[in-house]
Structure formats: C-alpha cells, structure tokens
C-alpha cells in the first residue's frame, strides 16, 4: 500500500486536489469547431462533386451557421484566456509545435473564408439582397467564379480543424486520458457527425435528408468503432492509462459517458435513423438533437475527465 500526503499544504485551488484549469469554454470551443468543420466538409465535398443543386441545404443554408459557430467558438476561446488583454500575442508568431497556435491560425483563416462562402450565396437565398457597393458586387462575382477552388481550400482546412479539436487534447502527454493518437480522428468523425446531423435537421428536401442520414449512420458506426478501440488501447497500455480508462469503466464518468454519449448520443439516434430509412416517420429533430447533445457531452466529459488523470510518482 502506498500512502502519500502533502505536508506543506500546497494550496493552489486550480491544481489541488486535481488540475482544473479548463472549464466549459474549451469543450464548447471544441464542439463548435467540430460542428463547423463537419458542415464545411460536406458543403465543400458536394461542391467539388458538382452537386450544389441536389444538396442545397448542405451547400447554401447550413453553411450560414458556420461563421456564427466559428466566431462564437473563438469568443469562447477568448473567454478561457486568463490574461485576456494579451490575446493578440497568439497572432504574433506561428509555433508549429503548439496545437493551440496552429489551431488558432487555422481558425483565423477558415472563419473569413466561411464568411465569404456564405456571403456569396446570400443573393441566391434572398433575391432581394443588395450589396449596395459595386466593389462588393465585383467581389461576389469573383468568388462565384472560383467556388470550386474555394471548396478545395475549405475541405482541407475543415479536416485540419476537425482533427485539431482532438489533437489539442491528445498532444498533452501529461494527461493520460488524452494522450492517444486516436483522439484526433475520433474528434474529427464526431465533429463530422454533428455537422451531418445539423444539415439533416435543416434539410427541407427529403432526398437530401435521407442521404445525410445515411452518411451520419456510417459516421456513427466509425465513431463507435473508435470508442471501442480507444478503450482497448487504454487497457492494454500502462498503469496511468488503465487508471484513466477506469474512470469510464466503473469510475466517476461511467454513467455520463456510456449513458449520455454512447447510448443517447450515438446508439439511440442511429436506431431512429435506421427506422426512418425503413420508412417509419420519425421527427428529424429527435435523432439530430440527440447527436448534437451527445457530441457536446462527449467533449465536456473528455475535457473534465482528462484533467483528473495524471502521472503517478
């Protein structure tokens, strides 16, 4: 038996008894980043495939949410900073070794691009829209002409953004729960699934909704596969990662993770989507809402639980 006690009484509220420096802002930031990456990915994909006509919600309407989600995400990141007035220091250097740095830069590039994208569809969505200035009209024409090129840039940036939301955590060797290379792909797939769910929810056209729902089913299966894989990896790893996995296998996060994320956030919506594809009528808000809820819970739980795990010495 090993017993350890502090005699000096290190009293740092955010470190003892366990580290807790990241609160709700970071998981919200990761959720919104993943959601935006998901929507942008599908919008660019269908544009590249030349399917704007068949997928109007994906390409034109859902993308209107992206600039909002990204700006809100950046705002939450800003709220997380403790030395706020110095936030501009983020944009005075690029440090490739630091996920926080290249993630912030990716957002800085992809946010304006997504705004340009949405703006170029405003006239199509609201024919009465008037840019008022000629230069804006010219710019719009330029964007419309180069939409494919823009889509290529956005699809690459969307994948980087989606993976980044996971790598931001997985790069921390000191937190065993996060320190697995699976987290990048897992967060990417989960982000894409929340994006697909949002599009599904907004889609007016039945065929578009059904296609997104099929894509979403595929993404959910990949996600479940990754989650099983994640725990297999942890349990076959060292003491600190086994301990991290045990937080979810009988520990404090067991009910919230398996109940809210896996069952309510993945399995139930998947079943509902299968029923819908079989011809039953299921209000789309239920599966879509559950997926969004599950994706958000997943990030909250991962961020919270990861901060409890640590090296033992």
């Amino acid at each position: 038996m090993k017993e350890e006690l502090f005699v000096s009484g290190r009293d740092i509220p955010n470190i003892d008894p366990f580290l807790n420096i990241w609160h709700w802002q970071i998981p919200m930031y990761l959720f919104l980043g993943g959601l935006a990456a998901g929507i942008l990915f599908f919008a660019s994909l269908f544009t590249i495939m030349g399917k704007e006509k068949e997928m109007p919600t994906t390409v034109k309407r859902a993308t209107l949410l992206v600039p909002i989600a990204l700006s809100l995400g950046l705002f939450f990141l800003f709220l997380d900073l403790k030395h706020k007035l110095w936030f501009w220091q983020l944009y005075t250097t690029i440090r490739l070794e630091s996920p926080m740095s290249w993630g912030a830069w990716t957002l800085m590039v992809i946010t304006p691009l997504s705004m340009v994208w949405s703006a170029s569809y405003l006239k199509e969505l609201w024919p009465a829209w008037d840019w008022k200035f000629k230069i804006l009209d010219d710019f719009e024409k330029l964007v419309i002409k180069n939409r494919k090129g823009l889509a290529w840039a956005m699809i690459i940036l969307a994948v980087i953004l989606g993976i980044y939301t996971g790598i931001l955590l997985s790069a921390f060797n000191a937190r065993p729960l996060w320190n697995t290379s699976l987290l990048g792909p897992l967060f990417l797939v989960s982000g894409m699934s929340t994006g697909a769910a949002t599009i599904m929810w907004m889609a007016k056209d039945k065929s578009e909704r059904l296609l997104m729902s099929k894509i979403d089913l595929l993404l959910i299966s990949i996600e479940l596969f990754f989650i099983v894989h994640l725990f297999m990896g942890f349990l076959a790893s060292n003491a600190v990662q086994i301990e991290a996995a045990n937080l979810f296998l009988g520990g404090a996060f067991t009910v919230s993770f398996w109940g809210f994320v896996v069952v309510l956030g993945l399995i139930v919506p998947a079943l509902l989507e299968i029923l819908e594809l079989r011809g039953y009528h299921i209000p789309v808000a239920i599966p879509a809402g559950l997926i969004l809820f599950g994706g958000m819970m997943f990030r909250f739980i991962m961020v919270e639980a990861g901060q409890i795990t640590r090296y033992l010495y």
Partner: protein, 177 residues
Amino acid sequence: MRYAMAIDTRKCVGCSDCVVACQVENNVPIGYCRDWVVESTSGTYPVLQTEIRSERCNHCDNSPCVRCCPTGASHFEQGGIVTVTHHKCIGCGACIQSCPYDARYSHPDGYVDKCTFCLHRVVEGLKPACVSVCPTKCMYFGDLEDPNSDVSVAIRHRNYKTLAPEAGTKPQIFYLL
C-alpha cells in the same frame, strides 16, 4: 551550461522553509506556491518507508510546456532554465495541462507562473532562495557541466532518481536516495 538541482531525500526533514523562502523572495501571492513538500509513505505496516521531497518545476530538458506554448511566452533561458515572459502569456492554460508535475499555476493577475530557479539571483552568482535557506543543507544547485559544481559533486557518488522519467520530459531535479 546546464543548471540543475539535487535534493537529498535522506536529509530533508520537511520543514517547508524552502516553500516560505520562495514565497517571500518571489512575491508569490497568498494561497499559491512555486515549490512544495511531499511526504510519501509506502509499504505495509509495520514495514514502512517515508520519503520527503521538496518539489518544484524540474526545468525539463524536453519540456512539453515550452513546446505547447502558442506565443513563445514559455521559453528556455540560459542554462536550460524554463521561464514565462509575463507580457507574452495569454493565460490559455496549455502549459499547465502539459506539465506532468503540475508545477505551474495561474497567477491571479492572469499570466502563468512557476519556479524560475531564482534566475534573478543566479545571474548575480547567488543560489536560489530555497537552496540558500535550507536548514539541513539538503539542496544542491549548480551547473551540471562543471564537474566541481555543488550539484555535480552531490550526485557523483549517490544513487538518485528523477520524477516520472517515463513522461519523457528529462527532468533536471535529482532526488538523492
């Protein structure tokens, strides 16, 4: 040059003088500290063993905190000392997450703060406050590359360990066993 510290776990009595000395020297806000003392008892009764360690930032050679800092606020100073430039730190907390030793804390003024090996004293040829105040003289500080420095002499004929070497951080505080 490579500054390092050796701490004799057999001489340390856990008086916490190093903690108070640091707080005074570095104006650490009340309720926070840059170094702390751990008393770790292990074994099964009645065969118990107690180890007392004064802990602080390990000024790692392979520092995850320097790597993950998005602004370059966390950086290496001379002799491998890891410090934070306050006016570059945005308080994102990444470095706090990255440290396996939880050696960093968020200063109430917003930036992140930690042990500096008393760089301001070291450049004047003085020892860090904790080392100079220790009543049992169980801490040794100096340049590892100088074979005659206090720290080189201290670890030459003794067994020592570092904390969580499996984290790959190459910590530079050696605990004499």
